[in-house]
């Protein structure tokens, strides 16, 4: 190993290990019931972000100076079965896609972490927030730098869990919890699609490494090592995964629900990083998209539909955070269209610009309405509102329908509930009733003691 490679290895390892150490410290302190002070938690978080960001900047500078475009960091095999040629390889890569996304993650996580230190000062769940936040940061770093699809999946899952738990952060109220559950349910189904895609890809190519999947060149020049029909199958699964994670059509219903979480997490997740993770996945595996024209058309269509829906819905919301969330969806839809059209660098720049702007807007949202009220009081009148010029060309019925479509959030949640959730629940409630009849018949008595479970036994002021 040359000194340069050794330096890369040390710096790269620092980037990956730093958030893991933060998660371990915060997790262990919670587990052994020794909570850290607010100052300690905030400082540890800032230190972890810096120890990830600074080595990443150093790697970028060295790469630019030496004209190296691809730096793999091999941390060995986490699991290996040599006889079966099975490896769970811990490999990370610094390239033109991962470095910008990593830096974006570090910068935004650092900014939002600093903001949260004041925002949640003396909140009961301060430590809990930063624990989930550390999990999210860890997941983002792993996802950004992943060079194998399993590593990407690990990061992807961590981001998903932390998202759901942070949506339910104010867990003494029912609504945030319900919405957190909703987010998690969508994520699990999209994760399932991701996992099936990953395993299918292994099955087709015998490779988990992106370098192997894209048989030639580093991002964005790779060519998929699979046929067009295989690419269509895998790509469709990845598209479902990306749609779930980025709240694209028809999974957009969870995005406004996710705004139930604290503003900092809303900003970092649904304005900036998490909502772009689906787009990042499509970018990372863009050679697969290039291998199938049908798949590209699907990606573009999904992006267009999502962008249009987002635009219509964001205009008629009565909640500033929800409105911003749908505005984010519009931009993510456009980014997906760019990816589908093969404009990879443009999509990457769009992600970075949009994430930064939206984070600022969402962090500003709590005070924005008050500022508007002050402004209107000083003016003595309502602020003028611009309406979209194209609306005049639409017939009144169409306008009304668009308004209703937007206000009802595209009927997506209603449709998912009506066509998927309710039939599912009905079928299995029926199965449950059949089971009950069978067990009652065989027992010659009412067989379920659980039917008599108290709704709130904890309210009973005596021991069980």
């Amino acid at each position: 190993m040359t000194p340069l490679h050794l330096l890369f290895h040390i710096l790269g390892t620092a980037v990956v290990v730093s958030p893991i150490v933060l998660l371990a410290i915060l997790g262990l302190s919670t587990l052994v019931n020794r909570p850290l002070s607010e100052t300690s938690i905030a400082r540890l978080t800032q230190a972890a972000v810096l120890f990830s960001l600074l080595p990443a900047v150093a790697i970028l500078v060295i790469m630019l100076a030496t004209d190296i475009r691809y730096v793999p960091i091999e941390l060995g095999n986490w699991v290996t079965i040599p006889e079966e040629q099975f490896q769970f390889h811990l490999k990370f890569a610094f390239d033109r896609l991962s470095i910008p996304f990593l830096m974006l993650s570090c910068v935004l996580c650092g900014v939002v972490g600093a903001f949260t230190r004041r925002y949640l000062h003396r909140e009961e769940g301060y430590g809990r927030f930063f624990l989930y936040y550390a999990m999210f940061f860890c997941g983002m770093v792993l996802s950004s730098l992943a060079s194998t699809i399993e590593t990407l999946f690990v990061g992807w899952e961590m981001v998903g869990l932390s998202s759901a738990l942070l949506v339910a952060y104010f867990h003494e109220r029912t609504n945030p919890v319900r919405n957190g559950q909703r987010v998690w349910s969508i994520y699990r189904l999209s994760d399932a699609a991701f996992l099936i895609a990953a395993i299918t890809m292994h099955h087709m190519t015998g490779e988990g490494d992106f370098g192997g999947l894209m048989s030639s060149g580093v991002w964005p020049e790779g060519t998929a090592a699979i046929t067009s029909s295989q690419a269509l199958m895998v790509g469709a699964l990845l598209l479902i995964a990306a749609a779930g994670k980025s709240a694209l059509f028809p999974f957009s219903g969870w995005l406004p629900r996710a705004m139930e979480g604290p503003t900092p997490s809303s900003a970092i997740f649904y304005g900036a990083l998490s909502v772009h993770l689906g787009a990042f996945l499509l970018l990372r595996l863009s050679p697969i998209l290039d291998a199938s024209l049908t798949l590209q058309v699907m990606v573009i269509s999904l992006g267009v539909v999502s962008a249009v829906c987002g635009a219509v819905m964001s205009r008629v919301q009565n909640d500033v955070k929800v409105s911003l969330a749908y505005a984010s969806l519009t931009q993510v839809g456009i980014i997906v269209v760019e990816i589908g059209m093969g404009l990879k660098y443009l999509a990457l720049i769009h992600i970075i610009g949009h994430a930064s702007l939206r984070t600022m807007q969402l962090l500003r949202a709590p005070t924005l309405l008050r500022d508007y009220s002050d402004l209107e009081n000083k003016m003595g009148m309502r602020l003028p509102r611009d309406s979209w010029v194209g609306v005049g060309f639409l017939p009144p019925r169409m306008q009304r329908w668009c308004y209703r479509f937007g206000f009802e959030r595209g009927f997506m949640d209603i449709a998912l509930d009506k066509w998927i959730v309710q039939p599912f629940v009905r079928v299995f409630h029926w199965c449950d009733s059949v089971e009950r009849q069978v067990t009652d018949a065989l027992s010659h008595e009412a067989s379920r003691e659980s039917d008599h479970a108290e709704l709130h036994p904890e309210d009973i002021k005596s021991a069980a």
Binding site: I81, L161, G212, C431, E458, I460
Partner: protein, 491 residues
């Protein structure tokens, strides 16, 4: 056959048995629970010693050095091999943490004597090879839950019906097998009977009703102890796997997968925590069973890893629920209970064990699940898809249960809700194992792979597997796949 340096097997089996007698002699004393914990701890230490000794010997199988009850059993009846070497400490650990997490106020309701007798029977079962002795232990192990149901004056009809069928199938199947040439095609009928017995004991759909009934009517502790060691899977490994043709095994795998998805779906709609746990367990144990039937080294390794992880994680998940139940009685999942503030440690542990059960990254279940899916896809891609769907459904259930129990408007109870020291120790022990196994999975995977390879080799030795048709495995007894492995290219 290589020998241990100490009669670990027999001593570890007899200690809980003598312990049960000791507990009986003590009567209803206040410190009876401590004695039970001590006995279970000694048993766990013995099984760990057995495992260490086994690893040091470095063999596929070993038996006791100074067997002192060989007048009663054939010397080769009690043998520990790579399959059971890890299951024994796991079973002992399950019993220890369950007894340890029993509240003193609940000790009269949860029979410690029967628990220790059950432990003896489970350890004896896991130390047994395919033999009449194994059949006897498998059947005997079904008696303690029945006695408890009778003592609690609950209707045991459903349980008795299923277990009676299980026992009859087991006896008839093994008896038939004893009188025929196991290398001939005549083995198919007794093989089918033994398979059906294993399906009954494992609670595979549609033979799962006894398990939900047991969770309804027995104490939660007994139900956990009877189910989580996955004795049914062990019966499959010992009695069915060596003799059944691959098409039969793949049929069982399909049934198991149906069970995994069905139980995962049913867990989602349950309105009470015990039933939810029961279906969650059924789903996960069915995945283990499905993996065992794949008969590819990768799939089998995944199933064996998952076996350990399901045992650890779902025991943890179960005892957390039991700790809550012990304080406030049965937990309805219809509304939010808001218990987080009063029991943050148990809340965290509940989430951790639930996530480990579904194979979340960095927990003990992750690699097992990944290997299982790999193995399943190798055999048939749709099988892998079913595994993933079952895991996704279970994942939704786990977080839903967490939210229902621990979030919501907190209520003040007069019962102390915080974890007691014994509960904390149990929780920390399991947490260390779950995270340790998740972060450093290689030793476990290597040993499970070695066991899987040996089991596959033993299976290949049976000529019955040569009768497989073209759609089945090759003459080597393994499915033909297009798997090319993972070669990572370094740039």
């Amino acid at each position: 056959m290589p020998e241990f340096h100490f009669p670990w097997i027999e001593v570890s089996i007899l200690v809980p048995l003598f312990g049960a007698v000791w507990i009986h002699l003590l009567g209803n004393r206040d410190n009876i629970l401590r004695h039970a914990v001590a006995i279970c701890s000694v048993t766990l230490a013995l099984t760990i010693g057995e495992l260490i000794d086994f690893v040091l010997i470095g063999t596929f199988e070993a038996h006791d050095h100074w067997p002192f009850i060989d007048w009663m059993f054939d010397r080769d009846v009690f043998v520990v091999d790579e399959l059971s070497a890890f299951q024994l400490p796991l079973a002992a650990l399950i019993f220890l943490v369950t007894v340890m997490s029993t509240l003193r106020t609940k000790a009269p309701r949860f029979s410690l004597k029967l628990a220790l007798v059950s432990e003896t029977l489970v350890l004896a079962t896991f130390s047994c090879r395919s033999s009449w002795t194994l059949i006897v232990f498998l059947i005997a192990a079904t008696v303690p839950p029945y006695l408890e149901l009778r003592n609690r004056q609950r209707c045991a009809r459903l349980y008795v019906l299923h277990m009676a069928v299980f026992a009859v199938l087991l006896v008839v199947g093994y008896g038939w097998l004893s009188v025929i040439d196991v290398n001939s095609r005549a083995v198919l009928i007794p093989g089918a009977l033994l398979t059906a017995a294993a399906l009954f004991r494992s609670g595979v759909f549609p033979f799962h009703l006894w398990m939900t009934d047991l969770f309804e009517k027995a104490t939660f502790g007994t139900a956990i102890l009877f189910s989580t060691p996955l004795v049914g899977a062990y019966a499959v490994m010992r009695l069915v796997l060596p003799i059944a043709p691959s098409w039969a095994l793949q049929s069982i795998a399909v049934l198991s997968l149906v069970t995994a998805v069905y139980a995962g779906s049913m867990a989602l709609i349950q309105r009470e925590a015990r039933r939810m746990f029961c279906f969650l367990f059924l789903s996960q144990s069915a995945l283990v069973l499905a993996g065992l039937e794949l008969v590819t080294p990768i799939g089998l390794t995944g199933a064996l890893c998952l076996w350990l992880s399901v045992g650890l994680s779902l025991t943890g998940f179960g005892i957390t629920l039991r700790c809550i139940e012990a304080r406030i009685s049965r937990v309805a999942l219809v509304d939010y209970h808001g218990l987080y503030r009063q029991m943050p440690m148990l809340a965290g542990f509940f989430l951790l064990t639930g996530l480990a059960a579904i194979g979340f990254p960095a927990t003990v279940g992750f690699v097992g699940m990944e290997l299982l899916i790999e193995g399943a896809v190798d055999v048939y891609p749709l099988v892998g898809t079913m595994v993933v769907i079952a895991a996704a459904l279970c994942g939704i259930t786990v977080l839903s249960a967490y939210f229902r129990i621990f979030t919501g408007h907190p209520t003040r109870t007069q019962v102390p809700m915080h974890a007691r020291p014994a509960e904390r120790i149990a929780v920390l022990m399991l947490t260390l194992l779950i995270l340790g196994g998740g972060l450093v999975p290689q030793p476990g995977v290597a040993s499970r792979y070695h066991a899987a390879k040996e089991l596959t080799r033993l299976r290949q030795a049976n000529p019955i597997n040569e009768y497989d048709g073209p759609s089945g495995p090759s003459s080597a007894g393994l499915p033909t796949t297009t798997w090319k492995g993972r070669r990572t290219s370094v740039r």
